[in-house]
Assembly symmetry: C2
Homo-oligomer: 233 residues x 2
Amino acid sequence: MRRVRVHPLPTAALPEAEVMLVVDVIRATSTAVMFLESGVKALWLTAGLEEARALRQNGELLAGEVGGLKPPGFDFGNSPREVALAELWDRTVIHATTNGTKAAHKAAQVAREVLLASLLNAPAAAQQAARLGSEVAILCAGKEGQMGMDDLYTAGVLAQMLLAEGFEPVGDGTQVALHLAQKPARPLLEASEAALALAREGLGEDVAFCAQLGLSERVPRLLQRRGEALIFG
Amino acid sequence: MRRVRVHPLPTAALPEAEVMLVVDVIRATSTAVMFLESGVKALWLTAGLEEARALRQNGELLAGEVGGLKPPGFDFGNSPREVALAELWDRTVIHATTNGTKAAHKAAQVAREVLLASLLNAPAAAQQAARLGSEVAILCAGKEGQMGMDDLYTAGVLAQMLLAEGFEPVGDGTQVALHLAQKPARPLLEASEAALALAREGLGEDVAFCAQLGLSERVPRLLQRRGEALIFG
């Protein structure tokens, strides 16, 4: 039996899964997808800006945000639109993101395979998850311990796609996400707290970008761990 | 401004609220409402069966469950249907319930007023909450740290009623609950994990009972605390 379970939040006691899709749709995992789409060969996820700076050795690019904007000395903010316009063939990016990295670390503790998912790569991410295992979990990053409607919606869209591949839904979080996924993406995402915070910074266009379904076939996959950094490619 | 916020789970860091509605709809808070409806003057919520036994001094009735069923030496299980048939005028009930009591304790730490809510008393509970304060929170008990679709649905129904009283919804949890509340009660509740577990014990009729909207005007309100017990009336 193939099963999919949505976790609305990265709680302390996550059950094991073969494959875990990590979702931080506004904006970390959307931006991560666009980094790979732009030619990046390795994406290092770190939790803090100082950690990212300390990891840079030769030629790595730094991405991150403070209050939605690019920090001093960084090459990129956390904007998938900005990344989409860049040519980054064969480069390495060190990407500082608080909630997304925290969730990815939780996933790495309990899953054999960890993938980063967003609406941009949802069809490809669901297909790859289905290829990699029969027990798939979808982990919503949320925001500082609070559930994010944007992440839960995206989890519902991914779960829907796995159902179409013959997976069975397990648990109440999965059912709630599936109900939410019946709504259209853009208004749902735009009503989330994460989107409202970005709109206040004048970054509302990023939300519209993140709401696009299936723009990319690239699915960041956890390859290794170096200290506190998780390396995706 | 009057505001309502839904908390999908009793997490560690709950913000303060003037009034908190605690929801454990299958079955603790539904049963609690029926105890008051049946004439009970004081309802003591405790976390464990042993605690409940230890609190009994003279004539109090014991309610609780082990795997859905009435424990040895107890007067009632945790069944609202069973309680609805009883005549309990002026009696005191000591009600052992794990998730519901845990959530009520969390609520008591951050709120001035704590009320127990279910679908059975939803219209009365929303009205009383609106009378008691302008910052209302709805706390879903969930099950052993997992979100319950049954509780989130009920929270959405309560939030809808508060919106009709002029309250503004705050936060993503509230929006998700409001989306869920657009569905009909009975199939939604019956699809929840809590309901499926009861159905396996042959107690599916209790879920149908809990799905009835507005059967009672009684709203259990926290009056005082005695040791680890919370006394509602």
